[in-house]
Symmetry: C2
Subunit: 205 residues, 2 copies
C-alpha cells in the first residue's frame, strides 16, 4: 500500500463510501454489499469492489462487508482515525457558516481557529470562536502545528494568504475562493466553488 | 457533439478552464496556450488540448487560444451563455452565505428564491431576498420554471425536499446536505460537503 500508487480518483471516492456507510451504521444496519452501497452512492458495484480491494481484503464473497469494520478501515486509510485541527481564514458569510457547521463532528476535523484581516471582524465572536487577526496567523498556526486550513477570503487575497499558510506549515487547503492556487507539490488543494458545480450540471439541461 | 458521448469527467473540467480563462481576461490577457492554462489549473497541456478539441477546433497551432473566443465557446457549451434562476432551500448559515454569495455574478446563475420550513425564518430578509415558506415551494418553482436548486437543509430532510423539487421540475441540484440523494436518471446532483473534501486530502498527509 503506497500513497503514490493509488490513483487520486480512487482516493476521492473513499469519503463518499464512508459517508454512506456511516449513515447506514447510524440506522443500525450491520452489513452491506457492494451492490447496495453502489445504489446509495451511484457508483457501480464492480467499481466499489475494485476500489476497496486496493487496500486489502475487507469483504467476504457472499456475506459482503461488515459496516463497522469497513468504516474503521476507511478512517484509518484516510487518516481520520484522529482529529485534525482546522484553521478557517476569512470570517465573512462563508467563514461564519463553516465555523458553525455541524457536519465535521465525528468526521475527523475540528475547527480550531478563525482569522480575518478586517479589524471590524477581529475579536468578534462566532459560535465558540473569537476571530483572530491574520497578522498573528502564521505564528498561531505554527505553534499549534495545524496542517489543514479552509480559505474563504476574496479571490484577490487568496494566493497571498495561501503563501502565508504554507510557510506556517499547512499542507492541505480547502479553497472557497473562486481562483486556482499555486502551491508546492507537497501541498494539496481542493476547491469548493458552487458556480463551477452548477456549471457542470447545466451542460446536461 | 452529443451530450451522451463526452465523458462527464471532461465536462467537469470545463468550469475549471473557464474560471482560469475569465481571470486572465479580467487582467487584460488576450491569448493563452494550453501550457499556460495547464500551469494555472494543474492539468497537463495535452489533457487540456484533448478536452477542448472534443467540442471543435478552438485554438491554432503556434498562436494558441484567443481567450475571449474560448470563453464564449465554453459558456455556450455549458449553457451558461444565459442566466439560470436558482432556488436555495434551507435558510440556515449556509443558505445565508449562498444567498449573499457574490461569486455567481457573470457565471450564469442568479439566486431567485430562498425557502425554509422554519416559521421563525419565513418572511425574514436575507440580503435582497425574503425567505418563503417551503409549503409554497413547489408552486413557486413550477410557476417560475426554475430548474436549478441548492439544498442546504439538514441531512434528515434532504431526500424529502429533493423529491418535492423534482416534482416541481428541478433538474439540477447542488446538495450541501451530507447525504447521497436518490434521483431519477434525468436529474443531476453535485455534492458540496467540506468534510469529504478534507478527508480526500488527509490521506496524503
Amino acid at each position: 500500500m503506497n500513497a503514490n500508487k493509488i490513483p487520486d480518483i480512487i482516493i476521492g471516492r473513499l469519503p463518499i463510501y464512508l459517508r454512506a456507510l456511516q449513515r447506514m451504521a447510524d440506522k443500525g444496519v450491520q452489513t452491506t454489499s457492494s451492490q447496495e452501497l453502489g445504489e446509495r452512492v451511484g457508483i457501480s458495484a464492480a467499481q466499489i469492489r475494485k476500489d476497496i480491494s486496493q487496500f486489502g481484503e475487507f469483504g467476504k464473497q457472499g456475506t459482503g462487508y461488515r459496516i463497522s469494520f469497513l468504516i474503521d478501515k476507511l478512517r484509518e486509510i484516510m487518516k481520520i482515525d484522529r482529529i485534525w485541527d482546522v484553521a478557517v481564514v476569512g470570517a465573512g458569510d462563508m467563514g461564519h457558516a463553516l465555523a458553525r457547521y455541524p457536519g465535521f463532528v465525528n468526521r475527523g476535523f475540528r475547527i480550531a481557529m478563525v482569522f480575518d484581516n478586517d479589524q471590524s471582524k477581529v475579536d468578534q465572536q462566532i459560535g465558540e470562536f473569537v476571530v483572530q487577526d491574520t497578522s498573528s496567523m502564521s505564528e498561531a498556526i505554527k505553534e499549534a502545528g495545524i496542517q489543514v486550513a479552509m480559505l474563504t477570503v476574496p479571490a484577490a487575497a487568496a494566493q497571498e494568504v495561501t503563501d502565508m499558510l504554507i510557510k506556517a506549515g499547512v499542507k492541505a487547503i480547502l479553497n472557497y475562493a473562486p481562483i486556482s492556487l499555486s502551491v508546492p507539490e507537497d501541498v494539496r488543494v481542493q476547491h469548493i466553488d458552487p458556480a463551477t458545480h452548477l456549471q457542470r450540471m447545466t451542460y446536461y439541461l
